[in-house]
């Protein structure tokens, strides 16, 4: 299927050959995966901090997000 075709299809395509794509830059993959982990850890640490600071409001969907 052409790159430009957007037709919905359930046909399975070959999985990206991540080994080939990333083999040449294995250390970059490790770096990107580490970045992903670190951002998640920092994010959840701040979320937990917020949970205690705001008396149990998990994500504290703020008033401001109600529109505008």
């Amino acid at each position: 299927m052409s790159d430009d075709q957007g037709a919905f299809s359930t046909r399975r395509r070959p999985a990206p050959d991540s080994g080939t794509t990333l083999r040449g830059a294995a250390w970059l993959t490790v770096l990107a995966a580490t970045w992903l982990l670190v951002t998640n850890l920092v994010y959840y640490a701040r979320l937990v901090d917020r949970f205690w600071a705001q008396a149990g409001s998990l994500l504290g969907l703020p008033n401001g997000s109600s529109g505008g």
Partner: protein
């Protein structure tokens, strides 16, 4: 009421599909892939319905019967396509069966999470309207139009003079008798964005990754908030994404018709919010590069982008002309120095500008711009926003590292152009939703690369971060929409729900009960000045007390006779003055001055308000 809301929303969507399909067959006759055609038709049609309501309103003929007739006409327009539609339905059913037969556990899990989120959002949308901005203008202004039977200038409520394509659909829903239908319509646009992402993703990605893109977008907490309320940014995002769908078709087989379709959709997006034209600029600029990558040639790409932008501008133009004629300023109340504005002074215009554009705490420098993805991820409060989650920032480096399909590269570029325009115009998570929708696809490709990696450890990281965030978002959604479930399912009455929910955070609206009493006891032709901006639940035309401050010099604001005279000239017949002190300094000062007036007579008393009749007022 729940069934009525669902029914009206379905009627509007069917009419939209009829209008849109007809427009599509007129403008671009060549065959479209079926899913793209259906989504683009509905998007075009929603814009057409909105503009029909705008036209009828400007002509002063906003009546339920006329709107219903227009919708019936739209539904009838589906008939010529009935034969083709039977084939389409069979194809959709076959695709669904095929997917069900071959689905993986990962896909099932993603679909289940999306379905749970969508169900929660729908239940919340079926409940009576709450929120802040819907009661200030998204629903309040359509309500005023419906009461007046026409679209005109509303003093004080400057939002009413800004482009409001989506609010026209809400006007139709209100005229047909259901405000919850407006919320359901907005919820439906969330599904259109989801379907658009899956369709865009399925062209080049694994279905699993396409579903992950949808799940990633739908997990943004502002999407849950928007889906349950009559807001506008999910609707705007739907128009935006469908314009991208049409532009991809144009890149593949350039034609003026396809540019028209994309431009119309981008114009509907641009006219959904005053600052939305920045998204059209981002699309047009990035389109030049994207079309060149596909070998279209730079001059052809540039001509296409300019044509696309011009059609989008022309589509949004009626809103600016309307505002110029009715309010004296095409971008009312901004750029006052050049255009001025009706019932507005320079100091007040400046105050509104400051309040709108300098109330976030994310800075305005280039460094602040570069840090904005971090601010938005880790400190969204500083942008008065909900949570985008950790994955947009977390997956971005990998998305830039791996080999991406053409469309994903274009989406990365478009998002990069969008970011500074967003940051220096109206930086909130909800106004970034179009860019997040585009980003979701290359990020999902990056995520899929992790999941398919040879290393078990990398796979576990990929799966954990995705399902960890989707789970947290689902819990947050359940907590946020929880209070609306009983009302949304019809198990709690509208009255009981609103009395319970409106005074509590995050709504903090204390006047519901009082407004209900005033709605019953004030004369039918009363025009009421309120000491709040949320007039939706008062069934009379309302004017904000702030409108007085906006239109009078400061020295006259201390004179009760001047204030009452001004209110009278604005057509106010009654003042709904709070009994207690107000926290807002300006409103409290106006209240104190008004209380010294000798031209007011008590008309109705409620627990928290006293409604005074203005002596000598019309009506």
């Amino acid at each position: 009421l729940t069934l009525l809301a669902l029914g009206i929303a379905i009627l509007v969507l069917l009419a939209a599909r009829g209008f849109g399909r007809s427009v599509l067959s007129l403008v671009e006759r060549r065959a479209w892939p079926t899913p793209e055609r259906e989504l683009v038709s509905i998007g075009l049609g929603l814009g057409v319905v909105a503009y029909v309501v705008l036209l009828v309103g400007l002509l002063g003929s906003l009546h339920a019967a006329l709107v219903a007739a227009a919708l019936v006409g739209g539904i009838a327009l589906n008939l010529p396509f009935a034969v083709a539609d039977r084939v389409t339905l069979r194809c959709v059913a076959a695709s669904a069966r095929k997917w069900l037969a071959g689905r993986t556990r990962l896909e099932s899990a993603l679909v289940l999470i999306i379905a749970l989120q969508a169900a929660l959002n729908l239940v919340a949308a079926l409940a009576p309207p709450t929120g802040v901005d819907p009661l200030v203008y998204h629903l309040a202004v359509p309500r005023l139009y419906a009461l007046d039977g026409s679209i005109g200038f509303i003093p004080g409520n400057y939002y009413a003079s800004q482009p409001a394509t989506f609010q026209m659909l809400y006007t139709a829903a209100l005229l047909l008798g259901s405000d919850s239908a407006a919320q359901v319509l907005h919820w439906a646009t969330g599904l259109i964005v989801l379907a658009g992402l899956v369709v865009l993703g399925s062209g080049r990605m694994q279905p699993t990754a396409a579903l992950a893109a949808g799940a990633l977008f739908y997990a943004v907490t502002d999407v849950a908030v928007q889906s349950g309320l009559a807001l506008i940014d999910l609707g705007g995002t739907a128009f935006f994404l469908l314009a991208v769908v049409a532009l991809l078709q144009w890149i593949r087989r350039p034609s003026t018709g396809l540019l028209c379709v994309a431009g119309l959709l981008a114009g509907f997006y641009a006219s959904t919010r005053l600052t939305n034209p920045v998204g059209v600029v981002a699309l047009a600029v990035s389109l030049v590069a994207a079309a060149s990558w596909k070998g279209l040639g730079q001059s052809k790409a540039l001509a296409g982008a300019l044509t696309f932008g011009a059609i989008a501008f022309a589509t949004a133009l009626p809103w600016y002309i309307k505002s110029w004629i009715l309010a004296g300023n095409p971008v009312y109340p901004f750029l006052y120095r050049w255009f001025g504005g009706r019932e507005l002074g320079p100091a007040q215009a400046e105050a509104i500008f400051q309040a709108q554009y300098f109330d976030v705490d994310a800075g305005y420098t280039l460094v602040d711009l570069l840090l904005s993805p971090f601010t938005l991820t880790f400190s969204p409060d500083r942008l008065h926003s909900g949570q985008a989650g950790p994955l947009f920032l977390g997956l971005l480096p990998l998305a830039l590292l791996i080999k991406q399909p053409f469309r994903a590269r274009w989406f990365l570029l478009a998002s990069a152009v969008y970011l500074p325009l967003w940051f220096w115009s109206y930086p909130r998570l909800r106004t970034l939703l179009p860019a997040l929708a585009l980003l979701a696809l290359p990020l999902a490709t990056a995520w899929w690369t992790l999941v398919m990696h040879r290393s078990r450890w990398v796979q576990v990281v990929g799966l954990s971060v995705m399902f960890g965030w989707l789970g947290v978002s689902l819990i947050a959604n359940a907590r946020y929409h929880g209070p609306a479930v009983a009302a949304g399912l019809g198990l709690e009455s509208r009255e009981a729900y609103l009395r319970r929910v409106l005074p509590a955070p995050p709504n903090g609206f204390p006047w519901y009960e009082d407004f209900q009493i005033l709605s019953q006891r004030l004369p039918g032709d009363a025009r009421v000045m309120i000491w709040d901006t949320r007039g939706y639940y008062l069934a009379r035309p309302t004017i904000w007390a702030r409108a007085l401050a906006q239109s009078l010099p400061v020295d006259e604001q201390a004179d009760p006779a001047a204030l009452v005279g001004r209110a009278r000239r604005l057509g106010v017949t009654h003042l709904a003055l709070p009994r207690a002190l107000l926290a807002d300094d300006e409103l409290e000062r106006l209240r104190q001055v008004m209380l010294r007036s000798t031209e007011l007579q008590v008309a109705v008393e409620t627990p928290r308000l006293i409604a005074y009749r203005v002596a000598g007022a019309a009506g």
